[in-house]
Symmetry: C2
């Protein structure tokens, strides 16, 4: 029987310690409020034969799919983003897909690990919120949407960009949000769309179809402007749509927590 | 018999026209002073089976090896950086390597093209000089050096970073150069080293071993500071050191000229 923790215990914890708790199975819930200020990553694990097309998809669509680290085939340990990070155990929940269908949702993937698997770490939505909060930019996040903005396909991978919709109080806040995120690959760089959501195929911004932050959703106030960033679930969606034979991902909102501060990963 | 041109004819030409002249074999010399202000690219063409490792090498070492476009296997046409750009004909000179040895230096690669070849376009040194000149930053470029700064290897690819050494007149110019290049993947982002060159294994900055801009080389003046950026020849060097069976590159200084202005490719 492991120790049990409340979310508040992990809020200001250092990432190495938090990963240890997750690795021992003592934290199985989401990581949204864990290790605040540290960069969090979505995970896609694929057989090596698909790795090139996936990395190319990422290279062509950095605003949604920027790969911050790719592991060597068969090696579950990270080298850049975290010390002693183990992809098989250090996320609270995983999803295993076969032929595009969800077949398991385990708390570790030791039994699924193979010598030909490559792990890709992709910046997650909490990084974007983290840098906005740090900079005191007034905003509220409604959730994630399927847009009609096309990605540039690569081999079998292609779909439209999933986006995160954030409402900003004023023009000044919109401008600051663009300046700040542009420096941050892990926060999806600059937005993909500003203003009228119907222009990117979102007919009702009050009903996000991917995930909803219901407590923040209420009618737009005068002067409030919606801005849409790419989302790190896009490459998973592309992989699912391609119905590839075998893939492992994180369970949404159950991220890998790196040793790096979000701000530490700014490109300048 | 094609038309013949002087360098000054091509200096302010639009890239599409210049590529046509190169394609028809009417310009076979270097591209340093051609289409000034437009982004120029080094080329690495590899069989698909090596493409993943190469792209991963690039992803891990963006300051030297940032891939701005990767073509689909067998497709010689670019989709992003240029309209109707053909990798087989649009560079003035190529180099063909077998098992790491130079075997040919043709003006087109039509007879070498295969259905499994992938082309990688990597930002070239003239882009860095272009953005410094545009911003009126006082500098002189000595040339290219082999440094001891290690790259992060990926599969068979690994070597030390080759660097370009540029001397800046004042601290203000050093600072401006970092600010300006940080925004530009095609100008190799921020520098890898500032100051004493012996710290990165360069024993004589007056003797660049990769290429020399001899007309600029004279003793450093008081206050002048050397700054070293990554160089797009690094990935070629890595591929040569790996003695891979088949590779085609541009001949140094004979670049692919894109339709994009250097400044157009700034990340913010």
């Amino acid at each position: 029987m492991g120790k049990s923790y409340r979310e508040s215990d992990l809020e200001s914890m250092n990432p190495s310690e938090a990963r240890g708790i997750i690795r021992r199975g003592e934290w199985k819930a989401d990581t949204i409020k864990i290790c605040i200020g540290y960069a969090k990553f979505n995970l896609v694990v694929l057989p090596q034969e698909l790795a090139y097309e996936f990395l190319l998809f990422s290279e062509r669509n950095p605003a949604s799919a920027f790969v911050s680290e790719a592991t060597d085939p068969g090696d579950p340990y990270l080298k850049l983003l975290a010390q002693n990070g183990d992809l098989r155990t250090d996320l609270p929940k995983y999803r295993v897909f076969k032929d595009g269908r969800l077949v398991d949702e385990p708390t570790d993937i030791k039994k699924y690990w193979r010598n030909d698997l490559v792990g890709f770490l992709i910046g997650a939505a909490p990084n974007l919120l983290s840098c906005l909060i740090d900079a005191n930019v007034q905003h509220r996040m409604f959730g994630g949407y399927t847009s009609t903005i096309p990605t540039i396909p690569a081999g079998r991978f292609g779909c439209s960009h999933l986006v995160v919709g954030i409402m900003f109080k004023s023009t000044k806040d919109v401008v600051r949000s663009i300046q700040i995120s542009s420096r941050l690959p892990v926060a999806h760089f600059a937005p993909l769309h500003i203003g009228d959501a119907t222009g990117i195929g979102i007919m009702d911004i009050y009903k996000p179809d991917i995930f909803a932050n219901t407590s923040s959703i209420s009618p737009l106030e005068p002067g409030e402007t919606p801005v849409f960033w790419g989302n790190g679930i896009t490459p998973q969606r592309a992989a699912m749509e391609a119905k590839i034979p075998f893939m492992i991902t994180h369970k949404p909102a159950h991220h890998f927590i790196s040793d790096q501060r979000v701000e530490e990963l700014a490109t300048f």
